[in-house]
Subunit: 336 residues, 2 copies
Amino acid sequence: MSEFDFIHRIRAEAARRTTLQNDLVCGIGDDAAIVRERDGRELLVTTDLLVEDVDFKLSYVPPSWLGHKALAVSLSDIAAMGGAVRYSLLTLAIPDKLQISEDFWTAFLDGYFALAEQHGVTLVGGDTSSTPGQLTIDSMVLGECRVGTAIRRNGARIGDGIYVTGSLGASAAGLKLLLLGAQVYEDRNDEVQAALRAHLKPEPRVAFGRRIGERGLAHAMIDVSDGLVQDLAHICNESGMGAVLDFEAVPIAAEVALVAEDQEAAFNLAVSGGEDYELLFTASGKEEGALLEISQACQLRVTRIGEILAEPGRLWLRRDGKLEPLAVRGFDHFAG
Amino acid sequence: MSEFDFIHRIRAEAARRTTLQNDLVCGIGDDAAIVRERDGRELLVTTDLLVEDVDFKLSYVPPSWLGHKALAVSLSDIAAMGGAVRYSLLTLAIPDKLQISEDFWTAFLDGYFALAEQHGVTLVGGDTSSTPGQLTIDSMVLGECRVGTAIRRNGARIGDGIYVTGSLGASAAGLKLLLLGAQVYEDRNDEVQAALRAHLKPEPRVAFGRRIGERGLAHAMIDVSDGLVQDLAHICNESGMGAVLDFEAVPIAAEVALVAEDQEAAFNLAVSGGEDYELLFTASGKEEGALLEISQACQLRVTRIGEILAEPGRLWLRRDGKLEPLAVRGFDHFAG
């Protein structure tokens, strides 16, 4: 397969599975994509890098799940801004061993485009090259929101409740299981498979994030990629605030019990494991009714797990009625 | 150096060397960058991938030139749309050997930001990861233009003149010299060094492309990255046209003589070598006065090298008054 053949194939697939977008003037096939702008709107731009043998291994991830995850991680960033997802670009550095593998790319693109279709995202560009090294995927997503409604990390206020969607730690449990030799069976549906799926095929909280943004319900928001505590620290640092986390309130995924020997270990995995792609946000307690509405509409649990405090940069854990300092541990993409 | 240290460093550098942009609401440091949109404007989005040992070798490219080129190739795409360059994102997969090399990254970022400053581009995002393999750079640029003024590949008309900026083949000559063992001396200024510089530190035609777009002078435009003939074929294919190229008119760079044994070889290198990052466009002959003005304002030579014909997909070479078919040869990024 030559580079031009491959690009033609992606272009054809994008055309076939495209969502009609009024603002799109030109997608794949020119020097740049062209998108019409509109007054009163803000463009959101994000990009995420996935490197083979650092972020995933080809030996354990089904290619369609990898295609799904490549897009999911960037959709999650737009959700975390409270925006709507619109366009994507996909860049691939492709090792020789994969250049001839039609099956791999058919499955990969299928996973990518299935998620794109689900959320009305149109692929408008990208680039490809060969590489003597690892498969390297750069995934860019463009989103939008009304002017001034993007939810940043720096808006947390004293007394805000701290909320998180879904549950935490299933992705970290899945990674542990993979390292212990667990294998993916795409059609099987037990707890081990759920943990592997949480790690390898995360579902970005696209609709939830957009609704939170549309209704202006959160003061600060981030997606949980580095680990709950580290991502909470990002919010606190950017907002010049502190926080207290309630030990009992953190929603730990059932799958964590597969790999954690006790409650302490389960908690640590849930708050430091990373790659959950849940949304972590702060909001006034007065909004809990509205949050419940969105939670029900999206069929996605939301849990209050703590509170924003006035002490810049200090994180506390409340446990059995006592406060103790909370250590920030998370995932460093350089440490691997 | 940890990932967070590195990102903080890039963020500090971006803040220090940033061009004030009224539309930028939020740059580096959140889940996504935020840019205000405006009625009557179109957003242009492009991305380019550079892979070590495919697109460059660390053994021969000065790190500051690599930083320059990473941005240059994407700026060139926006110029080729007739747009103005505005924002950039930079994604880096970094091998272990480079993680500890402060000097490398100081020079790389210096090259990147020097070119960004020169063209008023603000870095607003990106991502980094480690890699067990090759240094891999994905460079995104956002540009803009007035609605309907972007110059695409598909607008060439029968009878249009075909024009190219600058001269062709110096980059391909530089690559040949590198493969023969030539070394870069950043301060030396002879013909060999000029060829190496053309390949390793190309100057994107940012101002020229933007002016062509502002004044609506071209019907179709592309930057010469795959090679003149191949890029002309892209224009012809997208426009449903053919073309004739004048053998004597093609402006061959002086540096080509360093590696080409005769006129035939020089012509072939100039039209198929690729990575010149000159602008190739078609325009009505009536616009030659306006083209000359822009050429003078930008101090950049423009040459008429042929004409658009009504035969879809057919390329001809006119030589000594005779027409012969022109073979399309160019650079395939998979073939390496």
